[in-house]
């Protein structure tokens, strides 16, 4: 159960780093298909008795000027030039596909992390207590900090030699990760030696 989640979160990270490729492809796709993603935005300040107004149109870059975008023209023929001189038109583009993809991906990663967090903090201690009883918990807490200088060397050496199956490896990796996080938590929140 544990290592499944672990694997899962690891594979997410894979997605995560390759997100660039996905977004680029998606950008390329959506720019052709979605015409909503370009706009020409003209901001026209108040002129005589005409109120200031903002105009937006789906036009291409070369058509992005006041004459094409401001429609209907609020002033009559002879004032058009004077009115348009004051307007400022800006061509902007976005890619809604990238935004959608990013937000959905972000939320799903966040959701998974939250689930995993809830599992780690609430469910797992409960399950463990039910399965092994109280003594196991205390013991597993104890063997976290071993200060023996030779134990460290032992670790270093054994890391390169253990040839076990994948399942064990994942379990081992997860155990190691949890020990590391615990160590980090101790040094940041309890001992305040780093990052205070």
């Amino acid at each position: 159960m544990l290592w499944v989640l672990m694997l899962h979160s690891l594979s997410i990270r894979g997605h995560y780093t390759s997100s660039l490729l996905a977004t680029l492809i998606e950008t390329a796709q959506t720019q052709q298909s979605n015409s909503e993603d370009i706009r020409c935005k003209c901001i026209c300040p108040p002129y005589r008795e005409v109120e200031g107004q903002i105009y937006k149109q789906n036009v291409s870059l070369k058509d992005c000027n006041c004459l094409h975008v401001v429609d209907p023209m609020p002033v009559d023929g002879k004032d058009v030039e004077a009115y348009c001189l004051r307007c400022e038109c800006k061509y902007e583009e976005r890619s809604s596909g990238t935004i959608k993809f990013t937000i959905i991906m972000y939320l799903s990663i966040l959701g998974l992390l939250l689930l995993y967090m809830v599992y780690l903090t609430l469910l797992e201690p409960m399950l463990k207590r039910r399965l092994f009883g109280h003594s196991q918990l205390i013991q597993s807490d104890d063997d976290v900090g071993d200060q023996q200088p030779f134990a460290n060397a032992h670790n270093v050496l054994s890391r390169s030699h253990s040839r076990s199956n994948v399942l064990n490896k994942v379990e081992h990796a997860q155990q190691r990760w949890r020990r590391q996080v615990q160590e980090q938590r101790k040094s940041v929140f309890d001992r305040h030696v780093v990052l205070s």
Partner: protein
Amino acid sequence: MESEQLYHRGYCRNSYNSIASASSDEELLDGAGVIMDFHTTEDDNLLDGDAASPGSNYAMSNGGGAPSSSTHLLDFLEEPIPGVGTYDDFHTIDWVREKCKDRERHRKINSKKKESAWEFTKSLYDAWSGWLVVTLTGLASGALAGLIDIAADWMNDLKEGVCLSALWFNHEQCCWTSNETTFAERDKCPQWKSWAELILGQAEGPGSYIMNYFMYIYWALSFAFLAVCLVKVFAPYACGSGIPEIKTILSGFIIRGYLGKWTLMIKTITLVLAVASGLSLGKEGPLVHVACCCGNIFSYLFPKYSKNEAKKREVLSAASAAGVSVAFGAPIGGVLFSLEEVSYYFPLKTLWRSFFAALVAAFVLRSINPFGNSRLVLFYVEYHTPWYLFELIPFILLGVFGGLWGAFFIKANIAWCRRRKSTRFGRYPVLEVILVAAITAVVAFPNPYTRKNTSELIKELFTDCGPLESSQLCQYRSQMNGTKAFSDDQPAGPGVYSAMWQLCLALIFKIIMTIFTFGLKVPSGLFIPSMAIGAIAGRIVGIAMEQLAYYHHDWFLFKEWCEVGADCITPGLYAMVGAAACLGGVTRMTVSLVIIVFELTGGLEYIVPLMAAVMTSKWVGDAFGREGIYEAHIRLNGYPFLDSKEEFTHTTLAREVMRPRRNDPPLAVLTQDDLTVEELQGIINETSYNGFPVIVSKESQRLVGFALRRDITIAIENARRKQEGIVLNSRVYFTQHAPTLPADSPRPLKLRSILDMSPFTVTDHTPMEIVVDIFRKLGLRQCLVTHNGIVLGIITKKNILEHLEELKQQSPPLVTSPAPLHTLITFVRFSPRLLLMILVIKTKSRLKATKNTKNELKLLILLTKQAKMLNLIADISTSVF
């Protein structure tokens, strides 16, 4: 060598004993010298035999570089032992050793190159791996920055409402094509619903205001809570800005897991939450950390970088450039930031790689186009109005403000962080984050300038009032009637006045909240809040100047260039200068900061005002304390960071800094051929030193080399597993040939491959300024102190840092016992009685603390001795002067 822990500041424990024991030093040396004389001849022979092995430099690296002596039959250890040459957590790397290791590797590859096509491809791959790894880093950090930008914008707007037509759009994107937006209210459109509209069904009125207020606080609190929980559960190292730690890591410190996968993921995810929660923090510092994590992770793909800590730091330098490049959209600024602020070792090759990484990252971010304006940055200014010479005075005043703010912020924030570090208050990180977030949200919502995203606020403050602007800041009176030309200065309208006091409140709020926010256990950057504070102050000054010029345009100052109806003062420019000044005051950066602001705003003609303000702020800030916020945090945490900017001006000698100190037990040393495995293990278990000098023999104390604790433990463990016949009383030898042993003794263990036979040594009379310089320039980890070839002690980086700290505090110069006599005398001459009093008080307090009567007695004796001596010195000094 000092113990494992990060060194503690305020190291002055041995201060009392020093004078009393001043003479014992000489005796010790002499005694040793006498003993040595007896053994000189045979030692020399031994040494000669040793030195005969050619090119034995850096044999320590992995055993591979050791001169292979095939003469010895028992030579099993020639193959490299796995793990030797690596470092423990919270240890300092040895730059010299790492660089040599890399050169060795390079030579090996080069010599094999011509052997086969495969080897040639391998050498090509090796040569290109540097560029490859920075390319990958740039790509990843650009993509992650795009993700963070998009997600943070969206989440930030989630506090106000939601886009019903497409949930994943933020407010601006939601109204992308809507034509219902008006000139005055540009962001209103029917697709975007505020929470009050959704829940209560009405957009206006006190009820909906309260509803929106409530939802704002609710979201802010839940984002902050999620962020701090994720940080606490998955990756505690993901909190904070990360720049102090990265600075320390780049200077050669190891913090395992600080740049790991989980840190990267959690930092990215929680950074979005932290920014969106409305806390007074920015995403720039954490982005540097994110980029460095990418660099570290990608460097594992390339053996050239994964196996060499010094080479890895080159990649990290480039990565930090990429980080700033995407944080601000300032590629050149990023490279300079890496050079000026973070990097420790920055050769030209790294400069080019940083440049390239910054380029790639900026390109990727630009193609993701997170802001939808085809620019990398949010605040791009488009005005190009000239500035006048006289305006340098307000710019410099802004610089002074920036410096004052910087100094105040550093003092206050460090005091607060120290409180968090040392008292019980630091035990409740989650509660603290929630409290700060709640206060921020409650206070921020009523004020429109604090309610909005900080970078949007900066953008608004930077923009100049033109006809196109409709914000409150631009409601000048003449604009109301809509007919006048807009190009000149105008009297401020009621909108501007109300904006002014709102800005003042926002300024106070930001100043207070930023102090308490930086250092929270969520990812928090400092750049954006500092810039916001400066921009607010600058804008206020700018508007004040503008009105001054409008009402007094006949003053001789304004007369020359500010005629009636002319556009002479640009408040937006003042905001820009103020932002640069405040950021400069806090971080004490100069060149990179000006370049970053210039790239950020695109205002090429404003470089001189920016430079003037930044320089002034640095001067003013330095007057109150020489270190920037990052150095201050490094010092607070006690990281072993040897700043290369500071100068060492004291006249102490290597002898006074080395360990063991006078009253410490003698230096733990290993002899080269008469220890057994058991004895060696005993020494290692009893001490906590990280390395041991190896000497010829107990009698002759002559230096042979240096062996690291980690390497010894690994080598012994390895030998006991792989070699037969190694038992507890096997002899350990570091020499080329095994010592002659009785016939029935067990097989000896050769440890020559882990011995560093060319450790750095200085003599005991070397001035500390030279030693400090050696440490800084070569990046040493430790250095042995010798006298006539005898090992006296050792100086480590941490010893030097402690020494610097002691000197900085300049507590009574008694600390440095054979201190330059004149300092002592002048001090004593001016305040002999005072000194005595201090001494008595200190000793008394010490007496109270110690329960041990024996110690009390000792201290009393000491006190009387010192008092006598002081009186003597005082008498001498008064009679001399």
